[in-house]
């Protein structure tokens, strides 16, 4: 099981080299610098997770281990000095942005951030479009885009190249005005 887990991790998505050591029925997984460890504990037992540790409870399958290793890889990547550069002012004004996948909960801790992220999942939007749609301040929008970019979650391209397709068959059968109207009426009805 451990071998299978590690092979899945190694299969194209491994950013760190992991060392697995079997000890007394537990499995401890450490990064090379020994800073972060994975230590499964017995069924029903939960060790306290600290800032630098993650704990898995037995039984777990290879998906669980793969996810935990990738999570640790993300943490190490965020902590490494080779972080991506921040979005420059020009790109912020001239590019459209798209979210590759939903961020970890810490990055979307407010309702506005969740809403902006939901929009970024479904369409290429510029910072100004996003600000207008959500009704947040330009500063809040820029800060979220910067945070998502720094977490490696954001793709960006010049505005003209952004995809503007619409796939939902029921929305695509309506005019833009009708689409916005329907969504607005649902939102109003629910008090959102």
């Amino acid at each position: 099981m451990v071998l299978r887990s590690l092979m899945r991790v190694i299969d194209g998505r491994l950013r760190q080299r992991w060392i697995a050591t079997a000890v007394e029925g537990d499995l401890v997984v450490r990064s090379e610098d020994n800073r972060i460890a994975l230590q499964p504990v017995g069924r029903g037992a939960y060790a306290d997770a600290t800032e630098h540790s993650r704990v898995l409870a037995f039984p777990f399958n290879y998906h669980t281990l793969e996810d935990a290793l990738n999570e640790l890889g993300d943490l190490l990547e965020q902590a490494s000095p080779a972080m991506p550069s921040r979005i420059d002012r020009h790109a912020m004004a001239t590019n459209s942005f798209r979210l590759r996948h939903w961020p970890e909960s810490g990055l979307v801790a407010t309702r506005e951030r969740m809403r902006m992220s939901a929009v970024l999942l479904r369409a290429d939007v510029s910072a100004s479009e996003l600000t207008r749609m959500i009704g947040c301040t330009a500063g809040e929008c820029r800060q979220l885009l910067t945070d998502l970019h720094d977490a490696g979650l954001l793709s960006s391209e010049p505005l003209a190249a952004g995809k503007r397709d619409i796939q939902n068959p029921f929305l695509s059968s309506l005019t833009v005005r009708e689409r916005v109207g329907v969504i607005g009426r649902i939102r109003a009805r629910l008090g959102l």
């Binding site: 939903w102 309702r111 809403r115 939007v125 629910l190």
Partner: protein, 182 residues
């Protein structure tokens, strides 16, 4: 008069924790549900939805938003495609206290693959307070394996605010389509 449809699906571990409750939280009419005695040992509740739940919202100009809840058990998966056809979006509610919530989630993603190719989705993970693992990020990664990108948030279907937040995120994805993708 135009009609629109939202679909709720997912697992519910105990009565009052899932789709039926979520639909009841926002429906204008008393939701209709087809419950029967639970015969599935994997679901710790006395009754379970065997047909579907139904609720509706009448919008300001007389349009109707229909809310459908699918039966969760795999033996009813033939109904998922039928109910999902033409839906504006999909809401998946997962009970994190069940033995294998990631596998449950994967099953719903596969069952609604056709709908998810064209419609947005939001995933609400319930009972995270007592069952924090797997974490929300694990669900995001499972969705990615199915080619689905969608919000994944903790949501308690017994709290109306949580249900509204899930719907809100679905509507913002639709807004992105309606306003930008044109």
């Amino acid at each position: 008069m135009p009609e629109f449809k939202l679909v709720f699906t997912g697992t519910t571990g105990t009565t009052g924790a899932g789709k039926t409750t979520a639909i009841a939280a926002v429906s204008d009419v008393a939701p209709m549900a087809t419950e029967a005695r639970n015969m599935d040992a994997g679901f710790a509740k006395a009754t379970t939805t065997v047909g579907m739940d139904y609720g509706e919202l009448v919008l300001a100009d007389g349009e109707t938003l229909r809310l459908y809840g699918t039966p969760g058990q795999e033996r009813f998966d033939f109904m998922w495609k039928i109910i999902g056809r033409g839906a504006l979006g999909l809401i998946i509610l997962i009970d994190n206290s069940r033995p294998a919530p990631l596998e449950d989630f994967s099953r719903y993603l596969a069952g609604f693959a056709d709908l998810l190719r064209t419609a947005p989705c939001v995933v609400g993970i319930g009972r995270t307070e007592g069952h924090p693992l797997p974490g929300l990020d694990a669900f995001v990664r499972v969705a990615a394996r199915h080619g689905v990108t969608c919000p994944v948030i903790a949501a308690n279907a017994t709290r109306k605010d949580d249900v509204l937040q899930v719907i809100d995120l679905l509507l913002w994805q639709l807004t992105a389509h309606a306003e930008v993708a044109c």
